[in-house]
Symmetry: C2
């Protein structure tokens, strides 16, 4: 008998998720029924959005309920199958949850080619993180060559790709990240024009120095003070892309709204939210472009793989909120 | 000798402008030079934006400096002229300032036809207030028939026109205003589908009742709690039009940002600022449409004319911030 192990939501977190907000369970792995298949997971994706999924409020997706296996994207191998599209041995990715084995009917699942790129990349640059960067920057941001793009959480899975796409589009790209190591990574390895260490103080002065012509496009993953500060630098007709607000997800005092939002009026600018799921029909376009840029060496993909198996999930998740990861944070099962 | 009287900015206000923030002066009226003309003012426009003009920070327009005659739009009659475009006797409107007489070279001035509409209407529905409503709602809001529009400060000069244009476009229109009198005005006289009295408490419950299908377009003149509450009701792809933030202009603790701005992400919605001045080349289109709707009886224009002359300016201005006016607030010189 195959034993599954998983993390289930035990309580709705207040602030940062605590170990007692999770329940570790073991049980027999499920048996695939008609049209179903059994996946053995290899990598689990860790995303800031997961913090929102465990709040009680309905958002763009139903909340994870108390007792449910925690929702997560992952990659794995089909080990038993009653589904011709996903035969035994196929490498797949999908929302399999934080567990070692998952039964699926194929909904939202796709096969991946691990001979072309390592599996974790299909959760990052060639998965929803990369697609978020691609559609957010190009569709919502509409950057034009020579314009200045600022990206927050720029060393993260989404930000690192968004900034590099900005460079490919011929823009000046400035990343905001925490600490000198990440800033060096942005400039030296990813080719950003400049990086701002928000932990080094005086964000506004640093931003002014590195965006002498203002900010035409802001790709925001962070919210809070960083969003407010960048708003003071936007240009006429600027586009602010709301991709996330990771600085606010664990706030116990409610979200901080952007007090400088009236700069949108002064500058005739817009602030627009989006969700990558709306672009499913265009995922092939994004995958094809991103793959080509990777192959040409114009795009660098960084994955931060944490070993430790399912048991390491609660602690690894916290890394997203204290900035431990550079690139895509993935848990090896 | 003609004696001019004016209000000049004496100090930068903290919070609501106090009488000591203004200086009343009398001096000889200027003499028009080559290409200039002298206007005797009849009506002065009072606008929430004036509060922003007297802050020190440069915004979309240079601040009024200490000692300057307060900037204001107004209407009047040319009484002396060395300018063929604006002959003696012409009725004109322009940024003539808070004073009885103004010398102008014609920059930003246009003639008005007081036989077609009373002069105060050229400062309101047929002036920048009406044009703000027209371009903001139609260009930024892009409402479609059957959609739900919410307008804040709906009994004001801009909001009352924006809501009525929404009705003309075939939308459900809900106005937010302060007090039962204004709410009755919106529904009974302007034809809004519903009105919400924000002073009556439980704004969220009232909003939910009157927008059962959510809010597709929000025309916001107010900011603060009202903006935050409406954000909880926006629909997929909604447009939030940032026209003003009158609830925040006198704040002594900085602006309140919209804490619920992440609803823009959840609903793939946008928040966009605009300035009517950008549409100068299209003013004739707006004037023509608004005039036709007035003539057809589909649009009602309300002006709130305060008698009392220049001396009444400081106190009359405060009416904008405590909600004394219904419709366009104008001071009769």
């Amino acid at each position: 008998m195959t034993v599954n192990a998983q993390y289930r939501l035990a309580a709705r977190p207040v602030g940062l998720p605590k170990s007692t907000d999770w329940q570790y369970t073991e049980e027999p792995a499920g048996q695939p029924g008609d049209g179903e298949f059994l996946v053995e997971l290899q990598y689990i994706s860790l995303d800031p959005a997961m913090r929102g999924w465990i709040n009680a409020q309905r958002s763009y997706i139903a909340p994870v309920e108390i007792g449910d296996v925690m929702r997560a994207a992952g990659t794995g191998t089909v080990i038993e199958s009653n589904n011709g599209r996903f035969p035994k041995g196929a490498a797949v990715q999908g929302l399999f949850g934080v567990q070692k084995y998952a039964v699926s009917d194929g909904t939202g699942v796709s096969t991946i080619d691990t001979s072309r790129a390592p599996a974790p990349m299909y959760l990052g640059t060639l998965g929803s993180s990369g697609f978020t960067a691609y559609f957010g920057l190009l569709d919502i941001g509409r950057p034009r060559p020579g314009q200045t793009i600022v990206v927050s959480a720029a060393a993260g899975a989404v930000g690192s790709v968004a900034g590099q796409i900005g460079k490919i589009m011929g823009c000046r790209v400035v990343g905001i990240a925490g600490g000198p190591g990440k800033c060096a990574f942005l400039v030296d390895e990813l080719g950003f024009d400049a990086a701002i260490d928000y932990k080094a103080g005086d964000l506004r002065a640093q931003l002014k120095e590195h965006t002498p012509d203002g900010v035409d496009v802001f790709f925001d993953n962070v919210g809070g003070e960083i969003l407010d500060t960048v708003l003071t630098r936007i240009t006429r007709g600027a586009r602010v892309i709301i991709s996330g607000a990771v600085s606010q997800y664990n706030s116990e005092n409610g979200m901080r709204g952007p007090a400088n939002y009236m700069q949108l009026l002064v500058q005739r600018a817009s602030m627009t939210g989006f969700l990558v799921f709306d672009y499913v029909s265009r995922y092939p376009e994004a995958a094809s472009e991103l793959s080509a840029w990777l192959a040409e060496g114009r795009l660098t993909s960084r994955e931060h793989v944490v070993e430790g198996g399912i048991a390491a999930f609660p602690e690894t998740l916290l890394g997203l909120f204290d900035g431990r990861n550079t690139g895509k944070l993935v848990l090896a099962v």
